[in-house]
Amino acid sequence: MDFISGQTLLEVCEKEQLPISEVMRQREITCGTLDEKQVQDKLKEVLRIMKEGVHEPLQNPKKSMGGLIGGEAKLVADHETKEDSVCGTVLSRAIAYSMAVLEVNASMGLIVAAPTAGSSGVLPGVLLAVRDTKGLSDEILYKGLLNASAIGYILMRNASVSGAEAGCQAEVGAASAMAASAVVEMMGGTPKMCLSAASTALSNLLGMVCDPIAGLVEAPCQSRNAVGVANAITCAELALSGVENVIPFDEMAEAMYRVGKSLPFELRETAMGGCAGTPTGCRLGCDICGK
């Protein structure tokens, strides 16, 4: 059981009457090298690392290696219950969680690249915040992870998830599309609604550049993960409400890739343009690298 695009994935789901998560699981078992138990064990380990990652920096905030971030997730988490919090629980928590994972990553802790280290906060942030507010079981979260991996796989296969190749839209954009689709399935949406959510998520972040200050996975990466989370939740909500994206997922993936390819070199992880190229970005870069 294999698929090579959003369209062929939908066809398999339709023919077999299965959700995206189950098609992805069966693809792994029939076409890959892992058996059912190994897939389950690995998913368990992924979820364990993600759960630890979203909580650890809320208890013990640590400065990052480059010193640009550390402690932001706790500030957001502590703000959740305050009167001037404007987000509501699920968004506020998802933001805090996603930023926490970036802090773990930037302080040489253990993370799951999903699909990359720079975008590793989005998927755990969204999934675990939705779990908190909806009281979901780990079983449902595994379905979310599988669903997300199907979207990520198509993007890796047919477009790119590399910031150096296609900008942040390919990293946080992909992570956001993966998370949006996962939430739709977790909430009982159809495969078609999942792909619509993923398509909207990509389209909303189209063109986002990769411009890490000092070349480090710290800022603006951390707040980009927060925005990836907000985008994912928004797009899932649209799809679950019955709002359909007019552009099919596969076309949007290709558009994202083309936009990425046309981004100038300075805006693809070279730390030369965007935030990194501002006077302050340059100064911070020099301070950190000791030049």
Binding site: T33, M65, I111, A113, P115, A117, S149, M156, C289
Partner: protein, 222 residues
């Protein structure tokens, strides 16, 4: 196209912050360590290109050392690699070379000295997403990834050596995925690199050594 697994998308599980500058650095050093026939006593890392500029913020120095100590890319000890090296009695040194231009921006040289004096020099490239290549051994350009079981033969470039190697492989029923010969000059030192999808039996090493032109062997199992 290689099969993309669920865990290629949601993975690898890795110590941050960067798949290329941290996980890749760790992987190349781990592979170099496996190529050394005796425990590592001392290592000198030379960092080039982007590695030389951003190593501190990416923990590239710690990741290289962690790999040399035998840590996998998801081992939390990488962060404290300097302390672990002291505990494990491994000496280390870094040379930051921002001038030399290398083929790939994420490149490091590893000069390894073993506890019994064995010397090995390995150049690695971190080519993105945590993937790596070894591109030089003891000054000779080679190319392999460590994703397969890899047999590396150092030999004198004379007729019959490669035939002898393939004969030994065939006798032991090893299916070759890739095989390449690298040499600097005719009649000088050459390397044969054989990659296989399965484990390569250790017995094969003694058989290959029987040829007088074979100087050294390295076997890295997947």
């Amino acid at each position: 196209m290689n099969f993309l697994s669920i865990f290629d998308v949601i993975g690898p599980n890795m110590i941050g912050p960067s798949s290329s500058h941290t996980a890749g650095a760790c992987s190349m050093a781990l592979l170099a360590r496996k190529m050394c026939p005796e425990p590592v006593k001392k290592v000198v890392f030379t960092l080039y290109g982007s590695f030389s500029k951003t190593y501190h913020g990416h923990g590239t120095d710690r990741a290289l050392l962690g790999g040399m100590l035998g840590f996998e890319t998801d081992d939390a000890r990488i962060r404290d690699a300097f302390d672990w090296a002291k505990k494990m009695g491994v000496e280390y040194e870094y040379v930051i070379d921002e001038k030399t231009v290398t083929d790939h921006p994420n490149t490091a040289d590893m000069e390894i000295t073993g506890v019994n004096g064995h010397h090995l020099s390995v150049r690695g490239e971190s080519i993105g997403g945590g993937k790596i290549k070894i591109v030089r051994i003891n000054g000779i350009d080679v190319e392999f990834t460590g994703e397969y079981s890899t047999l590396i033969v150092r030999q004198i470039d004379k007729p019959g050596v490669v035939a002898h190697i393939t004969q030994c492989l065939s006798k032991n029923d090893v299916n070759i995925a890739f095989m390449r010969l690298f040499r600097e000059d005719k009649g000088a030192t050459a390397f044969t690199v054989v990659e296989s999808d399965e484990k390569i039996p250790e017995e094969i090493l003694d058989q290959i050594r029987e040829n007088n032109n074979v100087q050294d062997l390295m076997l890295v199992q997947m």
